[in-house]
Amino acid sequence: MSPVTRTVLVTGISRHIGARLASVLAADPAISRVIGVDTVPPTSLTRDGGAQLNPLGRVEFVRVDLRSPDIAQVIAAADIDTVVHMSLMSGPAGSRPAMKEHNVIGTMQLLAACQRSETVRRVVVRSTTAVYGSSPTDPAVFTEDSEPVEVPHTGYGKDASEVEGYVRGYARRRPDVVTTTLRFANFIGPKVDSPLTRYFRAPLLPTVLGFDPRLQFVHEDDGVEVLRRAALDDHPGVFNVAGDGVLLLSQCLRRAGRFFVPVPAPAFRFLGEGARAVGRMDFTPDQLALMSHGRVVDSARLADEFGWVPKFTTASAFDDFLQTRSAR
C-alpha cells in the first residue's frame, strides 16, 4: 500500500511520551532512522522500561529550537519521510508567552520546513481534546466535527486550536502529504507528569464546590501505540483518542482515597495560583473550566479508521496510575 517508512523525525523527544515513541519506533526493523529533536536533551531515554535490545542507541538526538528555522536544515539533510510532532507543551514550564511561542511558532516553523521538503509524505500531530473547550452548555459528548461551544481563549486549548489551524492549512497546500491529527484526552499512567497527574498525587485535593466533572483519560501505553500506528500507516484525518467510558472527579477521588475539600470557584483559582507560585501544580483558567464542567469525547472514528481501540478504559487507566502511585 504505502512505501516502507524509512526515516522518522519526532519532535518533543525530551518528554516522556515523545521519548517512549522514539524508542518504540527505533526498535522497529522497518524503520532505518529515528531522529529526535527538542530544545533540551532528553534526560534519559531508558525510562520506558521496555525489554528491547538497546534500541535507544538508534535514536539520534538533534538539539533544535523549533522556533528557529534550523529545523528545515534537519529535515532537508536527513531525507525525512515521516514527521511526528509531539512537542506541544500543556502547561507553562516557564512563562505563558514562552509556552505559546514554543507551541504555535514552533509548529509554524516545522510545517514551513515540511512544506518545502520533497521527501516528507506523512505528518502526525499530537493535539488535545482541550480544543473543544469546556463549558456548562457543551454537548455531553464531542465528536471530531463538533464546534466548541466556548472557544478556548487561553492556554493549551487555544494553542492547540491554532496549531490545528496551521495543520489544516498545510494539508490544503500539500494534498499529497497524509496528515493525521490526534486529539488526546488527558494522558495518565505510571510515568506521566502533567498538571492533572500532579493534582492526583497531592495529599489534599481542592475541588470546585458544586461541580463534579466527567473526565476521560488515555493511558500512556495506548498513547504511544496510536502514535506509532499513525506514524507507520496512512490514516488521514482528525481523531479523538480517549479511553472508553468516563469517570466523575468524585469517583477518581474516592478511588484514590484522597481527602478533598470543595471550595468555591474563585477560591479554587486562588489556590491554583498559589500552588503554581510554589511550583506544585499549575491551575490555569482552562484547568479550572475542566475541573468544573469536564469534557467527554467520542473515539468511534479512531476505532473505525485504525481498526484498534485503546487497551485501557478511562477507569482502568486511572487504576493503573493509582497502583504505581501508591507503590512509590
Partner: protein, 273 residues
Amino acid sequence: MNAEELLTFAARRISGRYEVDEFGYDAELNDKVLLELLRPLYRHWFRVETIGLHNLPPDGALVVANHSGTLPVDALMLQVALHDEAGRAVRLLGADLVHRLPLLGHLSRKTGHTLACKEDADRLLRKGELVGVFPEGFKGIGKPWSQRYRLQRFGRGGFVASAIRAGVPIVPCSIVGAEEIYPKIGDLRPLARLLGLPYLPITPLFPWFGPLGLVPLPSKWLIEFGEPIRSDEVDPAEADDPMVVFELTDQVRETIQRSLNALRLRRGPAFFL
C-alpha cells in the same frame, strides 16, 4: 435493602467502584437515593396514577410532555412513573439554566438528564434510549395560573427533527396535576431579571410564608401516555424541512391538548379527593 446489601452498597459508593455513563448518569445513585427521595411525594402527596403505559414502545422513543408547575416537579414525577411503573430509565432533556447552576447541574446529570441540544438528543435516541422532553420549556412551566392546561408554543420543533432523524416514535404524554402545585398568580419580574431567572413567581404561599411556601400543594395527579405517533414514515433527509417538522409538531401538540382536556374532566377537582 437489608443490612448486608446496605453495607456493600456503601462500600461500593465510598470506593468509587460504580459505573457512570458518558452523559454522567449514575443509575445506582438515581434508583437507590435520588428517586427514593421522590417516591413519598409521588405515592402519598400527589397520589400519581398512570394510564396507557402499554403505549411505550420496547425500544427507543421520544416522550413529549406538557410542562407546568413553576418548578419542574412534573419532570421528576414523570421520571418516577417511568422508572417504577414501566421499568424504564427516562433520559430527560433539560434547560441550559439548570446545567449552568452549581450542584443542580451535576445532580441532574447523575439522575440521567442532559442538556436539551440536538447532539445529545440524537445521541441518546441512536443508542435506543427512552428520551423525555418538554418542548414548551419556560413558557410552559412558568405560565400564569390563568393559563393553566393551555399548551404553549412547542419551541421550534427540534424534538420532532431529532425523532425523525432517529426514526423513533413520539409518545405524547399528558400530565394533569402539576398546574396546581404552585399556582403562579404573580411574577417579580425585575427581581427575576436581576437574578438571571426566567421568572420569580408569587403563589398563594410564596414568598409570604418563606421556605414553607416551597411546599407544593397536594393536588391529585394523572399521567397518561398516548398512542405513539410514527416519525419513521418521514424521510430522515426531511428532518430539516420546516414544513414537515411543524406539521408533525402540531399533530403532537394537538394530541396532548385533547388528552389534557379529557384527563382534567376525568380527574375532577384537584384537591380534597
